[in-house]
């Protein structure tokens, strides 16, 4: 019985960076594609290439990787969801989760740091959310690990007795996926980090190290951080080399 992880396309692309690290470090094999009109098409050579032999495997906008030993499946989404198709995409993911029968699903995501309230500015930037069926299974364990649940916000800020609602600004389909999974009784967890656009590599590492304390994807001795392998595709994230004539 497998469990599954996927990123939401969200602020800083942190979820996707984290998934890249998982696939690259655990040497996961591609086992399928998510071929849908909901994503902007993209293609490129193997982002996790380790040698000349595997460098030229074509990669598309959404692919599924698997590690049978860890009973882990991972969905990587590499391009933005087309505007107005997010509802359709959520339905596609929910239906896939149900038919595949994953024992649990974890969504890695992020949210705009600048929309935190005064309380959220203090302490850890990491949050989690669990659907009811996941709450039964894992809720106590995460509380023991001192994880912080995502706070709800007032529908009308400043009005003390107004309705509380869940808000994940910059989270893309995260909130929709969570609400749909609650409604369909799917065991799903969201793990997210507050961050801003920029060099989000450190955020990806923070999110992944945090996730690892729960899922133990990579075994690490106590008091050390896990070692993740950075994939080849992370080169030149901020553009090409500089022309020498500039100086």
């Amino acid at each position: 019985v497998f469990y599954r992880e996927n990123p939401a396309v969200s602020v800083g692309n942190v979820g996707q960076l984290a998934v890249d690290l998982i696939v690259s470090t655990l040497n996961m094999c591609r086992v399928g594609y998510l071929h849908t009109d909901c994503l902007i098409p993209m293609a490129g050579n193997n982002p996790y290439a380790t040698s000349a032999e595997n460098a030229n495997d074509l990669s598309t906008s959404a692919e599924v990787y698997s590690s049978p030993d860890l009973k882990l499946a991972v969905l990587q989404i590499r391009s933005p969801i087309i505007q107005k198709k997010s509802k359709k995409f959520r339905k596609l993911l929910v239906s896939w989760m149900k038919t595949s029968g994953f024992s649990r699903t974890v969504v890695l995501s992020s949210s705009h740091a600048y929309q935190r309230d005064d309380q959220q500015l203090l302490g850890t930037p990491l949050r989690y959310l669990l659907t009811p069926s996941m709450q039964k299974e894992t809720g106590d364990h995460l509380k023991e690990m001192d994880w912080k649940e995502m706070e709800t916000v007032s529908a009308f800020p400043g009005v003390s007795d107004s309705e509380q609602r869940l808000c994940i600004p910059g989270g893309g389909v995260t909130k929709g996926l969570f609400t749909a999974s609650c409604a369909e009784d799917i065991p799903l967890a969201i793990v997210l980090i507050f961050c801003s656009e920029g060099d989000n590599i450190p955020d990806a590492f923070t999110l992944l190290n945090h996730l690892n304390t729960w899922l133990h994807l990579v075994e690490t001795p106590i008091q050390t951080q896990p070692k993740w392998r950075i994939p080849a595709s992370w080169r030149l994230l901020f553009g090409s080399g500089l022309p020498p004539a500039l100086f």
Partner: protein
């Protein structure tokens, strides 16, 4: 977000658009408007009467062994100058679509010179199809384009070649390209393509987007052998030097159809736009 100078900037994310929850608050009227917009943006393949007649009734599916697609003015210009210059090609169809930049909605064949997606078939070898795409296909239409074009073809035994233009500014390399040989070719191929490509592979972290990406993704998922040659150039618009960069593809193309010997410089110039300043303060 406030900046050092006190003004407030709206912050955006490169990954997500805001207002992703809009769709959940739709009422019937919103839904109807959304459906009408979707219908307006639908992609149609218009096959001409002589083609539809030669295929059995029902779905128009063409027998096709080789499909060559050119995306962009230089790739299309290359095909026009080196391949479509003989009298052996018939126009067999075009794509009709509407978006903010392309109004190719007519069921009639587009006029020469008009941006469009046109299909041609070789008279002596009717299983060889060529497509020149010079119009803009929007992000939400790309998947449909590939799906409908390949849906019109019998995929058994199909091989695909894509030629595509790209600005060299989008090419990422650790060594700066100043003084290097530009324009140049890079290739990508689907897993089912077992031959050698005719130029070096596109190195990570470079990626394809747009129509070439939609075509190659479709071929990868449906296990169709496909190879793509992307030409990185520093010239905007059709240019003879850029068009000539695609010449290595002629070795594969000459195995499919008889090609004319190299076109003259004059013939090439016909397909290249010469940009002349209409008026100049200094002359």
């Amino acid at each position: 977000m406030a900046t050092f100078f006190g003004e407030v900037l709206s912050v955006y994310s490169r990954a997500v658009e805001e207002d992703d929850d809009e769709l959940d608050d739709e009422n019937e009227e919103d839904e109807q408007i959304r459906r009408e917009i979707e219908e307006k943006r639908e992609v149609y393949i218009e096959w001409y009467p002589d083609v539809t007649q030669s295929v059995s009734s029902g779905n128009c599916t063409l027998q096709c062994s080789d499909l060559i697609i050119a995306v962009g003015p230089n790739a299309s210009g290359f095909l026009s100058a080196y391949v479509l210059n003989t009298e052996s090609w018939d126009a067999v169809g075009h794509v009709s679509l509407w978006n903010e930049k392309s109004r190719c909605t007519s069921r009639q064949p587009p006029l020469p010179g008009e941006p469009a997606c046109r299909f041609y078939r070789h008279r002596d070898n009717p299983s060889v199809l060529m497509c020149q795409s010079t119009c803009y296909v929007a992000e939400d239409q790309l998947f449909q384009w590939a799906d409908k074009v390949f849906g019109s073809l019998l995929n058994r035994g199909l091989n695909v070649m894509v030629l595509s233009d790209s600005p060299v500014a989008e090419y990422k390399t650790p060594d700066n390209l100043y003084g290097s040989a530009v324009p140049f070719l890079r290739s990508l191929k689907s897993s089912a393509f077992k031959d050698q490509a005719l130029c070096p592979a596109l190195e990570q972290p470079n990626i394809l987007t747009g129509l070439p990406a939609a075509v190659l993704s479709h071929c990868q998922v449906h296990r169709i052998p496909a190879v793509l040659y992307q030409c990185y150039t520093d010239v905007i618009g059709p240019d003879t030097v850029t068009m000539e960069t695609y010449k290595p593809a002629l070795t594969s193309l000459s195995k499919l159809v008889k090609l004319e010997p190299c076109p003259s410089a004059d013939a090439l110039r016909r397909f290249a736009k010469v940009s002349e300043a209409q008026s100049n303060l200094y002359t």
